[in-house]
């Protein structure tokens, strides 16, 4: 090969009989004229050198070492790992702005106390003290609080007396009791829809303490009364009226749909009763309680009544369970 690496005419002189070793050298020299092999050696040495130089630098960096020009020593530093919700907040450390926005990691910090400030448009400034330790990462996860903006009035001319939140399986809705009727705010809290006309006194509306929903009807109650609203499909809200179905004997504290949602299980004073939703005059006693402070919970899925009541003779409060499931099942079979 010539100096450019191109093959050239090779002359092999018979009279130049060399030893095997010398001929090998000659052959290797021929190969070496190919500049690639020379470059290989150069690159090999170069990458070995890079490895030797780079490894300690990267290791020192990884362990957090930093050369301090003032003390002329290697000092162990720490880092802060900042995450914010929402992201892209400006970061200030001891008043000095850091280049990156959140989420970010600030490295090579001398151990000690710092003041971290996060700032983002439309959010309140978040400031906190932070402690940086050597060879450690201090993790910060911050939720920024938005400033009040974009307050939207949902509907003019409404006097909302009460509102309740009903939790559903796939979301929730808000029921509003207003002077003009009962409204519902949809799942995105954007649609305001009238569902029933309210023919109650305003004073009665203000005494409403609870609400329960079941499929196409819901009940609400005060300590004295229970009302029922039945919603029909495509029914005009103006034709949907509120019907009072129960007058309390003592005070109504809890109401649940139960017994295949055909009854209301009502805690009235120291009695638990079952009230037929379709025929409110039909009332059955369920359980008598010993204490006026007793509480109840009814699980309509398992038709189980859970009660906290005073038990005698211990004179302590205990939990009681009444399972209606079998009874309900038997009733349906018969």
């Amino acid at each position: 090969m010539d100096q450019r690496g191109n093959p050239q005419v090779y002359r092999f002189d018979d009279s130049d009989r060399t030893t095997r070793h010398e001929s090998r050298i000659k052959h290797m020299n021929t190969l070496k004229k190919e500049r690639y092999f020379a470059y290989r050696k150069f690159f090999f040495r170069m990458f070995v050198l890079i490895f030797i130089l780079l490894t300690p630098i990267v290791l020192f960096y990884s362990l957090g070492y930093k050369f301090d020009l003032k003390s002329k020593k290697f000092l162990k530093t720490g880092a802060i790992d900042i995450t914010s919700h929402p992201k892209d907040a400006n970061v200030y450390l001891n008043g000095r702005k850091i280049e990156n926005t959140t989420p970010c990691v600030i490295r090579l910090l001398m151990p000690g106390k710092y003041t971290l400030t996060l700032d983002k448009d439309l959010f309140y400034v978040y400031e906190m003290p932070i402690d940086v330790r050597s060879s450690a990462v201090t993790g910060i996860d911050v939720t920024l609080v938005p400033k009040m903006r974009n307050i939207e009035k949902l509907k003019s001319g409404m006097n909302v007396q009460k509102f309740f939140v009903i939790e559903r399986l796939f979301g929730r809705k808000i029921i509003l009791f207003t002077d003009h009727g009962i409204y519902v705010l949809g799942e995105n809290f954007g649609d305001l829809k009238k569902i029933a006309t309210l023919s109650m006194d305003v004073d009665d509306i203000r005494t409403v303490t609870g609400i329960r929903e079941d499929k196409n009807k819901f009940v609400f109650w005060s300590d004295r009364k229970i009302w029922l609203v039945k919603l029909g499909w495509n029914q005009d809200p103006d034709d949907t009226v509120v019907k009072q179905i129960y007058d309390a004997r003592k005070d109504v504290r809890e109401v649940y749909f139960g017994l295949k949602e055909k009854y209301l299980i009502v805690l009235d004073g120291s009695k638990i009763i079952a009230l037929d939703v379709e025929n409110p005059s039909v009332i059955f006693p369920v359980m008598g309680l010993k204490d006026n402070q007793a509480k109840m919970f009814y699980d309509s899925g398992s038709e189980t009544l859970i009660v906290r009541d005073r038990s005698v003779p211990e004179d302590t409060f205990s939990m009681f369970k009444v399972n209606f499931m079998d009874l309900v099942h038997e009733k349906s079979e018969s």
Partner: protein, 510 residues
């Protein structure tokens, strides 16, 4: 030390080292996470430097190949003045055949026939296995088909069950070579003028292969101490092979390109040429070992006390990507092939046994060669597993368990920086890979070139599953003395219909 004990120790070393590296990386994280993170950082930097170095070699080797593309090697042969004349040189092309279909062999022989080298100086040897079905009939058909196209066509049927042999390519090739020796003696052809090229059945040599090989043989004063290795390019069926198979085979080609830059460390692989005289001197290929291609190099190295090298020819040979009947079958075929290649770790045992007590080879050269084999095979078995699986797992583990550790945070950062930088290497692979693509058959859509680019992003998975894991499998088998049975790679092409008889890697359909 007794030879049996030495052999056992040598068999255990590669597997132990590979498993130690993998297991210690996991155990170290449990007992000393900081130290493990430091070790991982060092390993990542080492591999980054190594990969960039290898990329540099790849680029240079590729440039070397390209710069020699238009060289008229036959003219150079004619013009060179050597102690031997061009007319004296005889080429023996030995094809080892087992179950390959006749169509593949026809293509290979067509490639030999259409090369720009006088066919009257080429003897083709078709070496079949007796245990293969319809071998004799297949070979006879081929001989009839190509009769008169070459100086001669010799047939060899290797009988099965010869004592001391295992069913392997080396045994078949040795049997055929001995027949060739008899033939040459009968024709009074000097072995020193004969160059034997040992090819797989699917090997289609480049048009200039014989001219280039002859030129280097003529002009090399150390011609009998040199093997001649062309660049294996797996492109015969590249347009029909699955993407992951293309990646791993192209990777093999790139590996050969990289190794070709290391003049003193280059070892013969797959299809190659050498002097027939040298072959006879070293008593042919090993008949009881699987890795005949690399072992013939080491046999020569030991026989000639270290005075043996491999020269990288500037021309390629074209071979098939190993495929199966479907994707899953192809994965299995590829896995077995790579495991067989990785079984080349047995050369470590061979070399160790033969270097032990050999006082003719300098100690420094012994250490260098032993280190060379170990380095290659251990890295082969570990690097992809460590980088593709263990590193991400340990980083996730560190993130959850050691959230407050600075070294783990920085390790994540370093790892992601290095992985991003590997994109440059991927780009290089895409650029170089396109050079080895044959002309696209008309039936194949142009969109296949998109898959040729995207396929390289499979590299981390492919390197592990079809690179490191088979290598680890082979080393483990060697360690526990569960020998690998030679499992020939099935050669089939997923194209149908009559094909023109075109040379090399050009495929067109009628």
């Amino acid at each position: 030390m007794k030879k049996a004990n030495l052999k056992r120790i040598l068999e255990i070393i590669p597997g132990v080292m590979s498993w130690s590296i993998i297991l210690s990386s996991i155990l170290l994280f449990k007992f000393n996470p900081v130290m493990a993170a430091i070790a991982l950082i060092v390993y990542l930097i080492y591999w980054s430097c190594r990969l960039f170095y290898m990329s540099t070699l790849l680029f240079m080797a590729h440039h070397r190949m390209l710069s020699k593309k238009s060289v008229d090697w036959y003219k150079l042969c004619e013009a060179s003045e050597s102690d031997k004349s061009l007319a004296q040189i005889v080429h023996v092309v030995l094809y080892t055949i087992y179950k390959e279909p006749e169509s593949i062999l026809i293509e290979s022989l067509n490639a030999v026939k259409t090369g720009n080298y006088p066919k009257e100086n080429i003897i083709v040897v078709l070496a079949g296995e007796e245990r293969g079905e319809g071998t004799r009939e297949k070979l006879e058909n081929l001989k009839t088909k190509f009769q008169g196209d070459f100086k001669d066509i010799l047939l060899s049927i290797h009988p099965s069950g010869i004592q001391g042999e295992i069913p392997c390519k080396g045994a078949n090739a040795t049997y055929a070579a001995k027949r060739v020796k008899t033939y040459l003696e009968q024709k009074t052809i000097d072995f020193g003028n004969v160059i034997i090229s040992c090819f797989d059945a699917d090997t289609c040599p480049d048009r200039n292969y014989f001219s280039c090989l002859t030129y280097h043989f003529l002009t090399n004063p150390n011609r009998y101490r040199t093997g001649y290795q062309p660049l294996p390019i797996y492109s015969n069926n590249i347009f029909t092979a699955p993407a992951f198979a293309r990646v791993i085979e192209m990777g093999s080609t790139f590996w050969q390109l990289i190794e070709s830059m290391k003049a003193n460390a280059f070892v013969t692989f797959a299809s190659y040429g050498m002097s027939f005289k040298t072959l006879v001197d070293v008593d042919y290929w090993p008949v009881n070992l699987v890795s005949d291609d690399s072992l013939i190099y080491w046999k020569c190295f030991v026989k000639f006390n270290g005075d043996y090298t491999t020269y990288s020819l500037e021309v390629p040979v074209f071979m098939d990507i190993a495929v199966g009947k479907n994707i899953l079958d192809t994965i299995l075929v590829q896995y077995k092939q790579k495991r067989r290649w990785a079984w080349g770790v047995e050369t470590f045992v061979f070399l160790g046994m033969h270097l032990w007590g050999n006082r003719s080879i300098p100690l420094s050269l012994k250490v260098k060669k032993v280190f060379q084999i170990l380095d290659n095979h251990i890295n082969w078995a570990t690097w992809a597993i460590l980088i593709s699986f263990i590193t991400p797992l340990l980083l996730c583990w560190g993130k959850w368990v050691r959230q407050d550790s600075l070294v783990f945070l920085n390790l994540t950062y370093i790892n992601s920086t290095l992985v991003n930088s590997f994109t440059l290497i991927l780009l290089l692979c895409i650029f170089i890979g396109k050079e080895f693509l044959p002309p696209r058959p008309p039936k194949v859509s142009r969109f296949i070139y998109v898959s040729f680019i995207l396929q390289w992003f499979l590299t981390p998975l492919v390197s592990a599953f079809l690179g490191s894991i088979p290598a680890l499998d082979a080393q483990t088998r060697l360690m526990i003395q569960k020998p690998l049975v030679f499992d020939p790679t099935p050669k089939q092409r997923l194209t149908e219909g009559p094909e023109e008889k075109v040379p090399g890697n050009l495929r067109r359909k009628k």
